[in-house]
Symmetry: C2
Subunit: 344 residues, 2 copies
DNA sequence: CCCTCTCTCCAAAGCGCTTTGGGTTACGCG
DNA sequence: CGCGTAACCCAAAGCGCTTTGGAGAGAGGG
């Protein structure tokens, strides 16, 4: 059933039927009801392809999911981010177009999405310090929203965590507990957020006159294994760290495993603070319980970030001349059972 | 730049330019090269919206991501599955349309995708025993592919693991190691795959005359917390299990945590076998290492499954009268460090 | 030399919707 | 009674592509 048939069956023009269904005022209320009833009865729903061509709007947002590293891993953090964004898109009638690309192919993907007009806007995630995608998208004139920032975050819209403050505060907490040998298991420091977290970490150490030890600082893709291996090596060294600051709950799980296998107790022998993105299946258990969460953590829901980013992007699409929207979120610092005073 | 402008600039008709670019034989090779060069120079790429309307093909596949449970969790397993499928779609020029829906809204989502012709086919994941989506899609006449099966998997295309055999074999291994008190931490048994796994588990026990204890059998959304809590409760009971069979590596991590917190050693005091979907950031570390993987596991890459499902779906789309394609995969049983002889 | 193919290319008709630019009717008002 | 103005509705023109049904020009065959 298409518009033509529907309008013929009603004895009305396509114009009128279209207007009736799309809520335009030029049609009598009585007619509108009649049309709606008929449309419903015939199970009519407009062909999106035709509608998109006619309106010039794709009613779709492009997301690009990079496959990271040699093994082309999929970051589970993206799943929750996308879920948050997807909720907003669904509510507003937009589709989410997802494209998987190898780490080096993302610019091409954005270029293509933009040039063949298959989306109304795109989401940029995990920018590097000097991310080429931003200049590209500005040049192409596509509305876009960045989750995270670059080193020069002036002329575009973004939403980011206050990463420096978050990690500075977390480091301060460890220092307050008496820890001096603190390891940083960071994400890839080509990414801006990781760089900022490191800055926060180093600032806090410097403020107390504690030297940062390069052996205790790592920067890798944030897998469980990474946490396990890195922590294992450090714990087996002659001067093991007494505390770990970890950039995600996933490698933190690996750290906990390494600690446990050595017969040490997390929160007593070794302290761990991680960043908690509030991942769906990796809940930092016991957040509301009296005993507190498993991990002491800087906390901010990646899903909420997805929602917020989507909302901003849709605002920009509706209003292309809107000035950049920039939103900086503070993180919570949650005290859990993974931290304690430094052992003597 | 659109077709009209491009063909005007070349002094050719739109027909010829279109044909030249799409590889039709009715155009002289010399002309084709000239057209391609001009298209490239002008950075022309056809408007997908127009192309889709003209061809009647959406060049897109619909995926529906259900948000499970009260908290609308996002299953990270979907991320890897989608990544696998997305690789294939990208290669074949298809877009991936992703829609997030609350657990009860998925039928509506499929109906809508199909009726407004915004996709050429849809992927169905995690079917229940008697999943209504299948009848719906058959009625709507949309090509679809099911990852998993229902209780009556005759008339449609699917790809699934041999779940009964996998869990039967895993249970046999535990029995061979002398375990008699074996717990099953299963996924939600409204889902077909979970039901089959339970069947495999029960069959193996029955074959050895071991009674299944309902207290040791759970069925829930497969979070880390679930594994932690369930294992904790069981371990604290008067007759704790000596082994756990767990439906995913994520709750298995929770089980390991519960074991560790009680001062017990995984693989010595308590054995764990889990199903390993080979999740990106949750690699069952050490698969190729001499010491073996961390978890003994039934193993099958969910990402490879995504690829396979996508390939089958595209085959069905290209050839609508193709008979159902059904593919059953065996799992590997990987011996790791999480299993050992039952303690006396 | 004429006829028939084959090669190339083109004009125009969709695809199914939205939207522009009227047209008609009914009504209120002077 | 005539005219202006809402209120409704319609025909037709796109949107930018693909595809159908030729048409013109050479080439080859008799």
């Amino acid at each position: 059933m298409n518009l033509k048939q529907l309008s013929a069956s009603l004895g009305l023009s396509q114009t009128t039927v279209s207007r009736a269904l799309n809520g335009y005022p030029e049609v009598r209320e009585e007619t509108r009801l009649r049309v709606q009833a008929a449309a419903h009865a015939a199970n009519y729903s407009p062909n999106t392809r035709a509608r998109r061509l006619a309106t010039g709007r794709a009613m779709a947002i492009g997301h690009v999911m990079p496959l990271t590293g040699r093994e082309e891993l999929v970051n589970p953090i993206f799943a929750d981010f996308i879920a948050g964004a997807g909720e907003v898109y669904a509510r507003e009638g937009y589709d989410l177009l997802l494209r998987m690309v190898p780490a080096d192919g993302s610019e091409a993907a954005y270029r293509q999405m933009a040039s063949n007009a298959s989306v109304d806007g795109v989401m940029v995630q995990a920018p590097t310090l000097d991310d080429g995608r931003i200049a590209l998208l500005q040049e192409l004139g596509v509305p876009f929203m960045v989750h995270g920032r670059t080193a020069h975050p002036e002329r575009y819209s973004w939403m980011d965590l206050a990463n420096i403050r978050a990690f500075r505060r977390a480091t301060d907490l460890l220092l307050d507990l008496g820890h001096r040998r603190i390891a940083l298991l960071n994400g890839q420091e080509t990414l801006d957020f990781a760089r900022r977290r490191r800055t926060g970490f180093e600032e806090a150490l410097a403020a107390r006159g504690v030297a940062a030890n390069p052996f205790w600082m790592r920067s890798e893709v944030m897998t469980e294994q990474y946490g396990y291996r890195a922590a294992g090596e450090m714990l087996d060294s002659s001067t093991p760290p007494t505390a770990f600051l970890v950039s995600s709950i996933i490698p933190a799980i690996g750290v906990r495993r390494a600690v446990g296998e050595r017969g040490l107790r997390t929160g007593r022998d070794v302290s761990i603070i991680c960043h908690d993105d509030v991942l769906s299946y990796m809940d930092n258990e016991g957040v509301t319980a009296p005993e507190g969460p498993a991990f002491t953590a800087t906390r901010s829901s990646i899903r909420a970030a997805g929602r917020r980013c989507a909302e901003i992007l849709l605002t920009l699409i509706d209003n292309p001349s809107h000035p950049p929207i920039q939103d900086l979120w503070e993180t919570d610092l949650l005290l859990g059972r993974s931290t304690g005073p430094a052992p003597l």
